[in-house]
Symmetry: C2
Subunit: 412 residues, 2 copies
Amino acid sequence: MNAEIITIGEEIISGHTLDTNSAYIANKLSEIGIAVRYRVSVGDRVEDIEEAILTAWNRSAVTIATGGLGPTTDDITKKAICNAFERKLIFHDDLLKLLEDRFRSLHRKLPAVAQNQALQPQGADLLDNPIGSAPGILFQEDERCFVALPGVPSEMEAIISQSVLPYLRKRQGRGHIEIRRLRTTGITESELSEAIADLEPTQDHFRLAYLPGYQGVDLRLVCQASEEAEAIAKVDKLAEAIVGRVGAFIYTIGDQSISEVVGSLLTAAGKTVATAESCTGGLVAKMLTDVSGSSSYFLGSVVAYSNDVKHDVLKVPTELLQGYGAVSAQVAEAMATGIRILVSSDYGLSLTGVAGPTGGTPEKPVGLVYIGCAQASGVVSKKINLFGTRQRVRERSATMALDILRKTIIGR
Amino acid sequence: MNAEIITIGEEIISGHTLDTNSAYIANKLSEIGIAVRYRVSVGDRVEDIEEAILTAWNRSAVTIATGGLGPTTDDITKKAICNAFERKLIFHDDLLKLLEDRFRSLHRKLPAVAQNQALQPQGADLLDNPIGSAPGILFQEDERCFVALPGVPSEMEAIISQSVLPYLRKRQGRGHIEIRRLRTTGITESELSEAIADLEPTQDHFRLAYLPGYQGVDLRLVCQASEEAEAIAKVDKLAEAIVGRVGAFIYTIGDQSISEVVGSLLTAAGKTVATAESCTGGLVAKMLTDVSGSSSYFLGSVVAYSNDVKHDVLKVPTELLQGYGAVSAQVAEAMATGIRILVSSDYGLSLTGVAGPTGGTPEKPVGLVYIGCAQASGVVSKKINLFGTRQRVRERSATMALDILRKTIIGR
């Protein structure tokens, strides 16, 4: 089944806003076995939107459009839909009442402009928007369907999850779909593929996808089967086989970020952590505190960019700094121990390295990073070599540091 | 003049990779007065790429395609171009020699697969790729042109700057284009618009654009004129008028980030800085160290998430923490002074606030942030109230803190 995505709006077409909606929708469709074949963006001209809708309707089984449904945008997408499908806008009393009730429950009055949302194309099914005032619009025929959604990401995502995906899965009528995500770090896509290529399923209804990102590579397992138990059993078996081969690199099975995984482990163990960072310059602390509620297990961090700060604040001995250099296993371990003692945390996590693009030497090239991890029973360190830009070296080494902390907490 | 962008690749269409190339190209075209009207993405099927190229060629004066030119991708875009323009691939001895020379100068041997890059569509002009092995491909007629570029962002950007933009500007033959960017923070798009709306030029060849981002709003002034002096004079005059109204919010005229601006000022003054962060959790340190070479002026940071760390490491007096609470002007000032003394830096910059979504109270709601800035002559603080998600509150307050540091350094 081929799908097409249309994103509508001047902010997208002009490059001011990155088109994240398309990627979100393509990923969600892919999870239920629908492949996107075309993706189109147009600005705020009714005739361009109408042409894009008609082209998609004629070539794609599923079309999802986003944008141009807000009350202040002159309902430009609704106009284009009415032109394309030769319909008129009709007034929905029930929809107006629903909106008024929702605003009343928030102790607010429905703005006059929002009343436009009660005008909808004739013959369309309306999809409830649990967050905003613009409902989704659905046209369906035996062989194809067209969906228009608001462009605000949170509203679009809510309608996709609550209405569009269940509708499409029902339409497919292919029974149950089981999806599982195995998240890895510290291993490249080609190394992963070498290790597990022979496990890759070859059937169309059972797929393994590699999704590389800045922080690591995700594996996505998707199985469609008429019976739920069958789909789950197949995914279980494959996941188990993959864990058997590359389990050491998998930090979670599910959707959590590495910071959330580490946060859950620390919370469960009633332990705290602090970081001492050089080359990552605060990025590990930033990632840990991306999680709301992290104040219960994250005590703080010292970003020790200069040797003086490493010595004066973290108490790294001058002999180590002079004898081995700031980028060394000895200094990484002293930093991890130093921050742990300074703030009285259970774990101390440290990084020191050369993020580049300048500052590398033949002995200590750009991409060389030492990670230290201290706890009451002692301290360990690990040397890693990374390739790529300054941003990539920093993101990858921060993720690997959090993975080392994760393994330390679970005692592996 | 209408432009169209085609991005090619399964990783884009499937949503695994965000399409940042489209946004980059649209922004660059917009700077020279060319508006993008259509944007299309297709996967790795030759017939889909061919159809997209022909549709664009028939409706758009300028078409720029990216992706599918790498040596390992089976030259899929070149195949589609040959089909669409009814050409054959011909072998370019000179191109092979150029590639061999370039690899030799890097002490590497040209991989066999890269020899495919010497095969190019007949009749195309080739655009030098200063970074990679795939040249850009240009077809031109009186009224329209088609450009294909590699999908790797750094290679695409290099060919756009070095060849495509100069070519398009020459084609336009409209004389000189003067572009200037005024970067602001601490003021919303609507407040800006209210302050300077009457200054907005109304002519088509002279435009003012508002480009809002997470960290602030950029203003872009573009003027086209037959004489360079005229274009510069008009932009000068408008920029001066805008600075007269909202100069306090403009941190740079140009393309530098706020971290680069602050870095240049510190370098010029021979001064150093350190940060003490609570709610931003290391983000300000991370932003400062995004700049390569920042080790010459950035000494370090203490991320003081817990009150104990604020007290034990930054020496914030317990009376202040208990009397005013961690989120207060008094504690922000004590943190700024504390970090400055701890690491012996010239400036100390601090933040303490409620990033949300949890942790807010009626007195200290989510989005309340205090910023402190200390130097030898004393310490000041500023209270700000922000709206939005945790990420937005953190990014916006980090940018505003760096702006306060900037003003302190220049004595404003």
